[in-house]
């Protein structure tokens, strides 16, 4: 193994680990290491960021946003995680973060199907793996749910779903959560979510391989 290839990471920790997972797949010959953005190393192979950030002289900037040519979902989708696909809708995990952080918001989630479990903040992957659907108020929680191969309902105040993340169903208000849950056909959804994530992973690997090609 060659000397460590240091990556200065301005992304969220999960997104950074997602990029790391992609790099370790496409360039296993290199020792990729993430460094937080606050560190000032002598020599880095690249800077990871969403949007433009200042980089040391001669160090390439790998952008993971549309402006940087990254048309794929957030790299947090590719975080190494034990996947747990599901074809049933028996357990709903409500994560009280983001727009659901206020106790009053969670109390407006009435009539959810199946067993409902409430947790105050983003739970461990093991706990999320036990659920069939995740209802949350933060995009990153929903992306982790997709990484685990669970669909997510995101309560974000706007209710506009991102076409790049088709298995995150956005609703504006807590009362609206029931609508997508009523129309979900989990048996049909599970293979599509699985296959979509595999396709996204292959595309992301190809993109990251191109970025890392001459680093």
């Amino acid at each position: 193994m060659s000397a460590p290839h240091l990556l200065l990471c301005h992304l969220s920790p999960r997104a950074g680990h997602g990029v790391l997972s992609l790099l370790r797949t496409v360039r296993p010959d290199r020792d990729w290491t993430l460094l937080p953005a606050s560190t000032a190393p002598g020599e880095v192979a690249a800077v990871l960021a969403r949007g433009k950030v200042a980089t040391p002289d001669g160090v390439p900037l790998w952008r993971f946003d549309a402006g940087g040519g990254w048309s794929l979902p957030d790299p947090a989708l590719f975080v190494p995680i034990a996947e747990a696909p599901t074809r049933r809708l028996e357990t709903v995990l409500v994560v009280s973060d983001g727009a659901l952080a206020h106790p009053e918001a969670a109390s407006r989630l009435n009539g959810l199907p199946g067993r409902v479990r409430h947790v105050p903040a983003i739970p461990t992957p093991d706990l999320m793996a036990e659920a069939d659907v995740v209802v949350c108020g933060q995009l990153e929680t929903a992306i982790v749910a997709n990484a685990l191969l669970k669909p997510a309902v995101l309560v974000d105040g706007a209710g506009i779903s991102d076409p790049a993340l088709p298995f995150i169903l956005a609703v504006a208000e807590p009362e609206d959560v029931m609508e997508p849950l009523n129309t979900l056909d989990m048996a049909a959804l599970a293979p599509e979510l699985f296959n979509w994530k595999r396709r996204m992973r292959h595309a992301a690997e190809a993109r990251v391989a191109a970025l890392a090609g001459d680093s």
Partner: protein, 436 residues
Amino acid sequence: MLLRTVAAFGPETSGPSAVHSGNMGDIIYALPTCKALGVERLVLNLCADPGLSGRALSESAARFLLPLLEAQPWLKRIELARVPIRVANGFGVKAQAKPAAEGLPLDLVDPEELGVDHVLDRFRLQPLDHCHLIQAHAAAQGITVDGAPPFLHMPRETDTVTAAGQGPIVLSLTPRYRFLDTAFFADLLHGLPVVKVGSAAEAWTVAGVPGDFITATNALELARLIASARLFIGNPSLPYALAEGLKVPRLVDVPDFPLNAFPLGRNGWLMPSDPERAADLLHAVLDGRSEEDNGMPPAFIRPRPRRLGLRWRGDGEVFDEIRVLWTDMEQNGAHLPRPAGCTRAAPFRFRLARRLGWSDPEIRRRAADHRPQPHEQDRRCVLVPRSGGSRRRRGICDRHGCRQPIDAAGDDARGASSGLRRSAYLVHAPHTRNSA
């Protein structure tokens, strides 16, 4: 020592050892963990516990696996062993004739008592309802393994006539752990070169699908056949475990529970339940286009139109979860018009999303029309619970006045493990009696 050796293959070794009590597919999924632990001696514990967890590893099954295990270069010695006990269940003649266990499952037995370093049976103590079997084996031993790379070694064969990826599609369907019925696969594979694999006792599960049926003499022969396939199609089973170990292109029909065997790494896809989507994916995989984005199916995101489906239960009730195969009805006279909102081509399944009132004359008329006709030899039986319990594995068939006993554990486990579990359908061995 609890374990008594029945047969041993390979030289003695003092290296790390492990024991596994099956089933066969589970042993395959244990191999990445064995390799990571440096296991050199693998003991196959011959055991059948139909009255406990339902595992079964007979001597013939273990010998079936043997050539494949011997082909793994890191595995030096394989032993077949058993704990010489039988566990009775109940009393009297029944207890004598049908033991709850022959041999001993070893999940909670101390490895020192067994003369091994690792008890692989402990994977069953993991949350198997949402944990992949490869990861469950590793977690039970306190390690993590990567299931993405190939983990089965195939010895080079000089007389191989079919190169890898050049053979026909290999299809393997077993009665349990599946979601889609055989007619789905028959439609999907129509006109394609297919070889069906499986045991003779399970050949009925692929009846109706064109292609030769092959029963391999051992797991290595089966693995060679799968390795040569352009594509493997099947449900979680030993053949699928081999396809997963070889990482051949594979398209897998997974059950709704337990979903613990699915593709890891490249070339693995789940079978969509929509026939058109499944056909698109199948041809994309065959053409090497499977990694291209094929557009998002909107059906499960948009509000769908209400569809009407009725099932006659004979007791005057209409239930709220119903599945109907349009092909069956159309092939048998098309006596039920296609409901409004149903636009897709056959075969098509639909569910009734709301409880309907039996007093509605229109519903009564449609239910009467939908009553199975004597000429419908579709092998479906209606399960009327007899022994209680949430799994409803035993009962009698009341279709066509059949009254035939159904034992899901014996004739077919589909009612216990597939998506049809709660729909009150069971499929059992060819249903020829039709007394109506």
